[in-house]
Symmetry: C2
């Protein structure tokens, strides 16, 4: 059944985001998802690698639904949406008690150099994420100064968020992330036209 696969995927996603991919054994996944044994697992997945790929896909889907969706909300001012998105990331990290961070960042650091398949998939995740922000910036273009490099800025935003997630995780201190989020919003605000800024203040 498909529910069994989903169960395994959920359990694996949790374990991998908490312990990393290599540190999560197939037996951990079996225990967590209530399977009976090795071959029960290998009935649903051809290998641990395949499991990892699917977990990554699933994580991105969820992130797209629950996170990136904020960036696409049609009724809200684009820059306001970006702020909401950042706030949502901060809130999520606070909920996790600063553990686990971005599921992509951790995987990226662990596997980028060691496993080409994962590297490419994670690169794609970052690219799609950047594209979402870029199109938001494009939408906000009337409010922004003329020479904004939206591609570069979108990558900057993601890099800062990923770095901040990592740092708050290492320090186990959400205020680190909160402070960086404030500065990040200020940096984005730096690209807002003077007249638009006055309109927003009004």
């Amino acid at each position: 059944m498909n529910t069994r696969r989903a169960q395994i995927l959920d359990a694996a996603a949790m374990l991998i985001s908490r312990q990393g991919f290599s540190a999560t054994s197939v037996e951990d996944v079996i225990r967590e998802s209530g399977l009976s044994g090795k071959s029960h697992f290998y009935h649903y997945f051809r290998s641990k690698e395949e499991l990892g790929y699917e977990v990554l896909d699933r994580q991105f889907e969820r992130f797209a639904e629950r996170g990136l969706a904020i960036l696409r909300e049609p009724m809200i001012d684009p820059l306001e949406r970006l702020h909401l998105f950042i706030d949502a990331l901060v809130a999520a990290q606070a909920e996790r008690g600063c553990q686990g961070g971005s599921p992509f960042g951790s995987l990226a650091a662990e596997l980028a150099d060691a496993h080409e398949g994962f590297r490419q998939r994670i690169a794609l995740v970052f690219e799609r994420w950047a594209n979402q922000i870029q199109s938001l910036l494009w939408e906000a273009r009337p409010y922004l100064v003329e020479d904004v490099d939206s591609g570069r800025l979108s990558r900057f935003i993601i890099a800062t968020l990923e770095g901040a997630l990592l740092m708050s995780r290492v320090k186990r201190d959400i205020s680190v992330l909160e402070g960086i989020a404030i500065d990040l919003k200020r940096f984005v605000g730096m690209h807002v036209r003077e007249q638009a800024r006055q309109a927003q203040a009004a």
Copy 2:
């Protein structure tokens, strides 16, 4: 002898920065450093964990000597020094072919949640790094606007650099890091007083 230990530490540092800590086996280190066998290694180190701690210490020392030293150069304008430091990080990553990234960021992502001892040590590394930047910003205070939160800004800088290092590693594209470095400098420049900016342009 001390040279033997240093040899092992160097070999281990290279392997760990390329493969991660868990993925680097004691036998890898033995092979790379030309030891004869297990007990030869365990003659110099009590455990793999102890090796990891000493490698981290050594990496930070080197980073402090070769990297952070730039932040302390007495004859150069403080903000100029910060730019040089950022450029040096970018150049180092380009030299590595975008592989490996920051030795701390990778370790942080791998071990922050899994190993409390490493987590604390890496947190200390980030703290010392941030302190260096903070005291540079303090030195640059005359040129900066009044309400700069130098602690928060220094953490912002490090987070952005770490995130950018990770991203350029995943994409295997140095231009990602270069672009973010440009924006990061612009953000720092945002805190420069209007009159100081005019003086700098002259």
